[in-house]
């Protein structure tokens, strides 16, 4: 896909520079000439949307950091100072706080798209695993970012989650003390979380670089799930085709983002986080942000602390192993009649877990969470390995061009 660049600069100075550092050639081969499958639908714009969100979070975050004070006695007030006295501070903070949610919304759609169209299958395993690493880094970043305003949910969320490490046999307590920088969540914890919250996004950016690199080596998957065979017939140049489509997707996504920021900025937040952290007063329900709820439900579904932690991280490990658990030779769910249904069952299962994670763990909620947790793991460990052996796929088109001419791949968002 990304062979040596054929880019020739037009100006003499451009040629002089290119022969010394071929950066323009890199940009040209990656984002201009790069052949992109003709049949991509709008679900493929979420990669660009995520890049946009990462930049948006870094830009708003860097400015917020200029006004924020990472100290237990001042953090809460410095956030209110941003909301009241910093010019457009309220907008920066709401952009950043809601930006995290939009980032996760986009990443969940991006992951779901990969699951549906089999984007994790050979030769895209490394590409997929790099994506899972980005997802993990995002979770760590978001978790630490939520601690910074030093509200009640910040403090108690941090206490619950860091306490999980104490479940590790033998060294658990020592690790927890080391993470805290003391014997409870306190000023040293807040300080290091701020430091790491500023560091991790740049690590995400680096892994995103690898993710895009790997993508450009193996080429994009597409709704037909067959690779580009004839560049002329199957693909179009990235610019202007994909560039404009991605720009359209980003602009539409920003409408949703702006709706949250300007009209319902606290919808996704917890009102308890407008109460300053108080180590002596535990809130009645400690609930993480919405994007962690399915994992929180799995954590609480297991009746042992260590078990819960293992299963919670195991839920992510399933994604890492997925390329080898799915035994089907066919990538796209379009040609897998049974998988297509089970994909939606799995999505319903995750949404169900998310709902249960928001509820107090009482009565029927516990049983329902256990059933759905069992199903979550069964999907990866039982259903996908067996399904590939028993399912009869529909005939897969010989090429992207053929599927486009037949017009049978575009059940989702054809445009």
């Amino acid at each position: 896909m990304s062979g040596p660049s054929t880019y020739v600069p037009k100006s003499a100075i451009g040629r002089w520079f290119e022969s010394r550092l071929p950066v323009m050639g890199l940009v040209h081969s990656s984002f201009v000439a790069y052949p992109t499958p003709k049949n991509l639908n709008y679900w493929w714009t979420f990669g660009a949307i995520l890049s946009f969100m990462l930049v948006a979070q870094i830009v708003t975050g860097v400015v917020l950091a200029m006004h924020y004070t990472p100290h237990t006695t001042m953090a809460f007030n410095s956030v209110e100072h941003i909301m009241r006295d910093v010019n457009w501070g309220w907008m920066l903070r709401y952009l950043h706080a809601n930006g995290a949610s939009m980032f996760f919304l986009a990443v969940y759609i991006h992951i779901a798209r990969g699951l549906y169209y089999g984007s994790y299958k050979a030769p895209r395993e490394i590409l997929w695993i790099l994506g899972v690493i980005i997802f993990l880094l995002m979770m760590a970043t978001a978790f630490m970012g939520y601690v910074l305003p030093w509200g009640q949910m910040s403090f108690w969320g941090a206490t619950v989650i860091t306490n999980l490490f104490s479940a590790i046999p033998l060294v658990g307590d020592a690790i927890t003390t080391w993470l805290w920088g003391g014997y409870s969540v306190d000023n040293p914890t807040l300080n290091r979380f701020f430091s790491l919250h500023y560091l991790l996004p740049f690590m995400i950016a680096a892994v995103v670089g690898l993710h895009v690199w790997a993508l450009h080596v193996v080429g994009q998957n597409n709704p037909a799930g067959v690779d580009i065979k004839d560049v002329e017939k199957d693909s179009v140049p990235f610019t202007p085709h994909a560039t404009l489509k991605d720009a359209t997707g980003i602009a539409a996504f920003v409408i949703l983002y702006a709706w949250f920021v300007f009209f319902i900025p606290n919808f996704l937040g917890d009102s308890d986080n407008y109460i300053m952290a108080n180590p002596l007063q535990t809130p009645p329900h400690i609930v993480p942000e919405w994007y962690f709820l399915p994992f929180y439900a799995i954590l609480r579904a297991i009746p042992s602390k260590l078990g819960g932690v293992i299963f919670m991280f195991g839920a992510i490990v399933m994604l890492v192993l997925l390329p080898w658990l799915d035994t089907s030779k066919v990538r796209s769910a379009v040609y897998r009649p049974v998988y297509k249904i089970l994909f939606w069952v799995f999505i319903a299962c995750v949404i169900g877990l998310g709902y249960l994670g928001s509820q107090p763990p009482e009565g029927g909620a516990v049983l329902a969470a256990r059933i759905l947790t069992a199903y979550y793991f069964a999907h990866f460990l039982v259903i996908l390995p067996l399904l590939g052996l028993f399912e009869t796929p529909k005939p897969v088109p010989a090429s992207i061009a053929e599927s486009v001419l037949k017009g049978d791949t575009t059940e989702l968002g054809k445009a």
């Binding site: 003709k38 991509l40 007030n77 209110e80 909301m83 009241r84 309220w90 907008m91 709401y94 179009v236 085709h241 404009l244 489509k245 720009a247 359209t248 602009a251 539409a252 920003v254 409408i255 702006a258 709706w259 920021v261 300007f262 009209f263 319902i264 900025p265 606290n266 919808f267 009102s271 308890d272 407008y274 109460i275 009645p284 009649p337 049974v338 249904i341 089970l342 939606w344 069952v345 319903a348 299962c349 949404i351 169900g352 709902y355 509820q359 107090p360 009482e362 009565g363 029927g364 909620a365 049983l367 329902a368 059933i371 759905l372 399904l387 028993f390 399912e391 009869t392 486009v404 445009a415």
Partner: protein
């Protein structure tokens, strides 16, 4: 091969379990307190903005009643003259501030001293510290009111909490509704068979129904000079609106900006889409 019907049934079963399971346990966990009534606020909706006269009345209630026990550390006198708030005149705010004393210093001799407040000063707290506040209030700490309207809410439950996010029917005023309802939900006597401890009062809205704050305000307690009837209901609404402004003083600017952003982004999206369509016109895809 597994049949499509079997799998469909399994799928339906799982989704059904998830949905049916929900209400059964949502009921059991709740307190038996009443839900606040959803009021109509000038600051709700797309073009919502604070009602200046209401904020001025609300400020009067806050100043004469709430501020006797509650602090509002993030309120500066100057805020009362800023756009999108009660918008008192600069002169009014200056005169108001001068009625309060604040501690300043140390001076050249190294002594702390008291001086009249200036518009740049923050609202003086009624108690020197939390312990003094507790000691004067039967052990209960009156919460700071700076962001109280955003720190209070109530659960709407499924499916309402999802619908509350949708444009046109969006709902973000839980805190104001909660406070307005709470102020009107005091009962002189607890229900039969319920014994309150000393320093506890019965309130239908407060989670758990036991509240440490005595009924703070009744009909006719604060004089209204603009002809608005001096009723508990009006006090409750006006002070809740004031507290919402106090918690979210940039709401007017936020909604105005938001409207422009949405219009701009809608046009930009339309133009990009049209351009994209044109570029792809001759490419089957």
């Amino acid at each position: 091969m597994l049949s499509k019907t079997t799998l469909g049934m399994i799928a339906a079963g799982f989704m059904g379990a998830a949905l049916l399971g929900a209400p059964a346990f949502a009921e059991g966990s709740g307190h038996d307190q009443m839900k606040p009534t959803r009021l109509s606020w000038s600051f709700a909706g797309f073009f919502g903005h604070y009602d200046q006269a209401q904020l001025q009345r609300g400020f009067k209630v806050f100043r004469e009643v709430c501020a006797n026990c509650h602090a509002a550390e993030k309120l500066a006198f100057r805020n009362l003259a800023e756009p999108g708030g009660p918008e008192f005149s600069e002169a009014q705010v200056k005169a108001l501030a001068a009625q309060y004393k604040v501690k300043d210093g140390p001076n050249d001799a190294g002594d702390m001293f008291e001086r009249p407040a200036r518009p740049s000063d923050t609202w003086p707290s009624p108690f020197a510290n939390d312990n003094a506040a507790r000691a004067a209030n039967g052990g209960g700490l009156p919460p700071d009111m700076s962001v109280l309207a955003k720190a209070r809410s109530y659960k709407r439950g499924f499916p309402w909490f999802v619908l509350d996010a949708l444009p046109g029917i969006q709902y973000q005023e839980h805190g104001a509704d909660y406070i307005a309802a709470l102020l009107q939900a005091y009962k002189d006597e607890p229900p039969h068979g319920v014994k309150l401890d000393a320093g506890q009062y019965w309130n239908d809205i407060m989670p758990g129904n036991r509240i440490a704050m005595p009924k703070p305000i009744s009909d006719g307690q604060v004089d209204y000079t603009d002809g608005t009837p001096a009723t508990l209901e009006n006090y409750s609404k006006d002070v809740s609106a004031f507290l919402m402004w106090l918690a979210e003083p940039k709401l007017d600017q936020r909604k105005k900006t938001g409207f422009r952003v949405l219009v701009f982004m809608a046009i930009l999206t339309g133009l990009l889409y049209a351009t994209k369509k044109r570029v792809w016109a001759n490419t089957p895809h």
